[in-house]
C-alpha cells in the first residue's frame, strides 16, 4: 500500500505542477480556467489519496464540497469572458506592475494639482470681483452726496 500511495502522490504532484504551469502560461483567461479546473480535481484526488492512506472518513465532506464548488468558478469566468487585449496573455513582472502603479500615482497627483490650480484661479477671480464691487460701491458712495 505504501508504494502505491507514494507513486500516486508523485503523479498527483506532477499533475498539479503541470496545471499550474498552464495557468501561468495560458494565453487566455479560459485556458487558465481549464487549468484551475484540473488543479481542483487534482486536489480532490489528493484528499481522497490521503483518506485512503490513513483510513480516515472525516475529510470526505471536503470531496463533496470541492466537486460541487469547483465548477462554479469556471462557469462564472466563462459567462463573463470577454475579448481580452493582447498584453493580457501573460502574467506581468513585478517591475511592470510597479511602473504601472507609479504612472497611476503620477496621473492622480497631476489631477489633484490641476484641481488645486483651478480652485485658486476661481478664488482669485472671486477676490478680484469682490474688490471691484467694493470700489464701485465706494465710488458710488462718493458720488451720492
Amino acid at each position: 500500500m505504501i508504494y502505491a500511495v507514494i507513486v500516486a502522490a508523485a503523479l498527483l504532484a506532477g499533475a498539479a505542477i503541470l496545471a499550474l504551469i498552464r495557468a501561468e502560461k495560458g494565453p487566455s483567461m479560459l485556458d487558465r480556467t481549464v487549468a484551475f479546473d484540473v488543479f481542483t480535481t487534482t486536489l480532490v484526488a489528493a484528499v481522497a489519496l490521503e483518506a485512503a492512506w490513513s483510513r480516515r472518513t472525516d475529510t470526505l465532506v471536503l470531496l463533496v464540497v470541492l466537486s460541487l464548488v469547483g465548477f462554479v468558478g469556471s462557469v462564472t469566468i466563462s459567462r463573463f469572458a470577454a475579448i481580452e487585449p493582447e498584453d493580457a496573455a501573460r502574467v506581468r513582472t513585478r517591475e511592470e506592475v510597479e511602473a504601472e502603479r507609479l504612472a497611476e500615482r503620477a496621473a492622480e497627483e497631476a489631477a489633484v494639482e490641476a484641481e488645486q490650480a483651478r480652485r485658486e484661479a476661481l478664488r482669485a477671480e472671486a477676490a478680484r470681483a469682490a474688490e471691484e464691487a467694493a470700489q464701485a460701491s465706494d465710488s458710488s458712495e462718493e458720488e451720492r452726496p
Partner: protein
C-alpha cells in the same frame, strides 16, 4: 494472503491508475496547442482519473456509508464537468479562441450562417 490484503492491492491499483490519469490530464493540458484540445485533456481523463481514485478509496475503506458519499461525489463531478466544459467552449467560440482552420467539422458556424446569413464565425470578435 487474506481478503483484506487482496482488497488493499485492488485499492492501490485503482489509486495508482487514477493518479496516472490525472497526470496524463496535466501533461495534455500543458502539451496541447489550443483551447479545445486542452479542454478535452482537462475533462475526460481527469474525470475518469478521479472516478478511479474514489473507487480505490471506497475499496480501501470498505463501508457502505462512505461508498454512498463517494457515489455522490462521482455524480456531482459527472454532472458539473460537462457543464463547465460546455461553458468554457461556448465562451471560447464567442471570443474568437476557436480557429476555423483547426476544425475538421464546424457545424456551429454552418448552422448560424444558414440561420442568420453570413454570421460572425468562430474567428470573428463577437462577445
Amino acid at each position: 494472503m487474506t481478503l483484506d490484503v487482496w482488497l488493499d492491492i485492488v485499492a492501490g491499483t485503482f489509486l495508482v491508475a487514477g493518479a496516472f490519469l490525472s497526470f496524463i490530464a496535466g501533461v495534455g493540458i500543458v502539451h496541447f496547442p489550443d483551447l479545445l484540445a486542452r479542454m478535452h485533456a482537462g475533462t475526460k481523463p481527469q474525470v475518469l482519473g478521479m472516478l478511479f481514485m474514489l473507487v480505490g478509496l471506497a475499496v480501501r475503506l470498505r463501508s457502505w456509508s462512505v461508498a454512498g458519499l463517494l457515489l455522490l461525489v462521482i455524480l456531482f463531478q459527472m454532472l458539473t464537468a460537462p457543464v463547465g466544459a460546455h461553458m468554457v467552449a461556448r465562451a471560447g467560440y464567442r471570443t474568437g479562441k476557436v480557429h476555423a482552420e483547426d476544425l475538421e467539422f464546424d457545424e456551429l458556424t454552418e448552422d448560424t450562417e444558414r440561420h442568420d446569413g453570413p454570421a460572425p464565425g468562430p474567428t470573428s470578435n463577437r462577445t
